[in-house]
């Protein structure tokens, strides 16, 4: 395959929510610097925002402050969060949202021109085109975009990240990007656990199925310190359609009820805030109802006015149209019939939870020259879209300040050649390796282990040391089987690397789940052998570092630091 070397000041891996905003900030603040984006799909419709968004869910409505936001997110995350990171992103919500509004995003306003809140931290948008709007801004700012490039690894030299390599999905060109500073913004990881539905709905997942943990895996392989993988995310979604429930719960103010019509959150979780209990409990509540025989669980939309139902459908069309088709195809009128909900398979994602790179306040990772923003960055949950923008901005500014001290350094040739060999080997094996393994079959093996032994849907997300040890042992066999993976074309080659990346992520995840001997976030992290929260021993972050030479995973802890005073478990 042809090899092409690119020299750039800033490299952004992943042209999504964080990456596009970072590119604009870089070109505006440091116009003399070159910015290169490597994007796995086409930047206009890649990643989480492909279908659109109908709300900005992290915004400081009137009367709120970065401090009140930190207090809320801290309580919502069961008392453990990187408060410095959460505060610094909240300070930039307004800056990011105003920018995107200027680029053309319709934000719903009242007659006085004020944004219309949808909940305490939410505003309504017509965001069907949010992704192309961001992409256009990044391109117009002067970022050079390489679409359809699957980045396979970071390039390092003397413990510093000096760029990255990847291949073109369209023509197989092997790109070697030499960068002074690199931002990783590839999103989180779907597809670690077995999804809710089989067949042609197996990718009908909450999280973008094309976010496959590449950024986590590259960092793990390069020896970056990672944090809080054990705080998995389990979404509560509409049954089958897997559409967001916030649209109904917040937009139509519908309460959760069980099959007896009980408002079980109010009845059983009153001390935690009932329907307003911390997010992990809002998934845990319905899981327990179903486990204990009181399912199905619904959002009670009965009695909604015709106008409210139309509003609901309009909101879904801006973000998750298949919910509307699901109602049409099943003859469901949500005003007459409550909307059944279910919980998804677990994901690893730093935008809703805290799994990701351990970063400083400027989003520098522990590897020199590498910065992280968005879902791939850890410690700062409740990020959603606007927090990813904020992190992209923070990282861009830090990279601009740091770059004066950084030279462009080339990686050693033999390392680049070795990575080229690793990247393309599955393509060459096609038709030659006897009994080669397809990426889909490898994925099934990975998901089977995780589903059955590491707290999947069928075990009600519960796990114990014995189960996790089995998961660890079974996962340990997979890296040596990677050599049997074959790809018939470049699309399949991408799928091969997606599954290899997820094995690396899953192994680190299981170590994190084993290490935290308490249950801090029920359902996200339910240890049946340590069922209670234990602040005396576990009010700290669980971090990991994989040794690039030996592959051994070392677990460490980092202290929690309270920045904003107040009760950690009660935001009021």
């Amino acid at each position: 395959m042809e090899r092409k070397t690119i020299h750039t000041d800033f490299l952004i891996i992943g042209g999504g929510t964080a990456g596009c905003m970072a590119a604009v900030e870089m070109k505006e603040r440091y116009p003399q610097c070159s910015v290169t984006i490597m994007e796995k799909a086409h930047i206009d419709r890649s990643g989480c925002l492909a279908g659109g968004m109908n709300a900005i869910n992290a915004y400081l409505n009137k009367g709120e402050t970065p401090e009140s936001f930190v207090r809320y997110v801290r309580a919502d995350s069961c008392g453990l969060v990187r408060e410095d990171l959460v505060q610094s992103m909240a300070e930039l919500f307004e800056y990011g949202v105003k920018k995107v509004e200027k680029w053309g995003l319709p934000i719903l306003c009242d007659d006085d021109g004020n944004y219309i809140p949808r909940g305490r931290w939410n505003i309504k948008i017509n965001g069907e085109s949010l992704k192309p709007i961001l992409a256009k801004a990044a391109r117009s700012a002067g970022a050079k975009v390489y679409n359809w490039v699957t980045v396979t690894n970071l390039l390092t030299k003397d413990d510093r990240v000096v760029g990255a390599v990847g291949f073109s999905l369209r023509n197989g060109t092997f790109y070697v990007v030499q960068a002074k500073a690199t931002l990783i913004a590839t999103g989180g990881a779907a597809g670690i656990y077995r999804p809710n539905n089989p067949g042609d709905a197996s990718h009908k997942t909450w999280y973008s199925p094309y976010n496959t943990g590449a950024g986590y895996a590259m960092g793990i392989r390069a020896g970056a310190e990672m944090t809080s993988y054990e705080m998995r995310y389990v979404a509560i979604r509409t049954k089958d359609a897997i559409a967001p429930t916030g649209t109904i719960a917040l937009g139509a103010k519908a309460p959760q009820v069980n099959s007896d019509g009980e408002r079980f959150m109010v009845k059983r979780y009153a001390d935690l805030g009932g329907d307003g209990a911390p997010t992990p409990y809002r998934a845990h509540g319905p899981v327990q109802e179903i486990k204990e025989g009181r399912g199905p669980v619904y959002l009670d939309t009965r009695g909604l006015s015709e106008e409210k139902v139309r509003d609901l459908k309009s909101a879904y069309l801006d973000m998750y149209p298949s919910q509307v088709l699901y109602w049409l195809a099943n003859g469901i009128d949500p005003a007459k019939e409550p909307v059944e909900v279910q919980t998804t398979e677990p994901y690893v994602v730093g935008g809703h939870c805290q799994a990701g790179y351990w970063v400083d306040k400027d989003r520098r990772t522990t590897l020199k020259g590498l910065y992280a923003a968005g879902d791939v960055a850890g410690g700062a949950p409740f990020k959603f879209v606007s927090g990813c923008w904020a992190e992209g901005i923070i990282a861009a500014r830090a990279m601009g300040r740091d770059i004066e001290k950084m030279d462009s350094v080339a990686a050693e040739d033999h390392l680049v050649a070795a990575e080229e060999e690793r990247a393309f080997k599955p393509l060459r094996g096609h038709g030659k390796v006897r009994h080669g393994i397809r990426p889909a079959d490898f994925e099934a093996r990975l998901q089977k282990i995780m589903e059955e032994y590491a707290g999947g849907v069928s075990t009600h997300y519960e796990m114990n040391e014995k189960m996790l040890t089995i998961a660890r042992d079974r996962l340990a066999k997979l890296p040596e089987e990677v050599e049997h993976l074959v790809a018939g074309d470049l699309h399949q080659l991408m799928k091969v690397h997606e599954v290899i990346d997820r094995i690396d992520v899953a192994q680190v995840l299981v170590e994190h789940l084993l290490y935290r001997r308490e249950t801090r976030w029920p359902t996200y992290q339910s240890r049946t052998d340590y069922p209670d929260r234990d602040d005396a021993n576990w009010l700290k972050f669980v971090n990991s570092i994989r040794d690039p030479k030996t592959g051994g995973i070392e677990m460490v802890t980092r202290p929690y630091e309270q920045v904003v005073p107040g009760d950690r478990y009660n935001a009021k």
Partner: protein, 128 residues
């Protein structure tokens, strides 16, 4: 099958090497059969139901179907995206043929019929 390209309506965006539906799929699931001059969904099991392909098709040739495991065939959801303006219109048709129309504000983003791929070599054609 979540989305389906109607071969009667698809014109392959004429000579386009990479029609909009192919480019806008975040999963790289749509390919063009250059001999037949038609696009099609090559990997239905990997579809996320996100619909950029449906919305971007200038011929409105791509239909959105619910996976059969989730409900009956016959209901339809059809977006109409104008070339200009600031609104997207959706026709929602239930199993009995009753149609409801939604007009929603948006920012219309122009999408070219073709686009060159970065990099030196020609695109490798895996379409058939």
């Amino acid at each position: 099958m979540p989305v389906w390209v109607d071969p009667e309506k698809c014109n392959g965006c004429n000579g386009s090497s990479q029609p909009p539906c192919l480019r806008m799929c975040p999963g790289d699931l749509i390919v063009k059969d250059h001999a037949e001059n038609k696009a099609y969904l090559k990997y239905p099991e990997d579809c996320w139901d996100c619909l950029p392909c449906v919305k971007v098709c200038p011929e409105e040739a791509i239909e959105f179907h619910l996976s059969f495991q989730f409900g009956s065939k016959g209901a339809r959801l059809i977006p109409h995206v104008p070339r200009k303006g600031s609104q997207i219109t959706w026709d929602a048709v239930d199993l009995k043929g009753n149609k409801e129309t939604f007009t929603i504000r948006t920012k219309i983003m122009q999408v070219a019929l073709d686009e060159k791929v970065e990099g030196g070599a020609e695109a490798i054609d895996f379409s058939i």
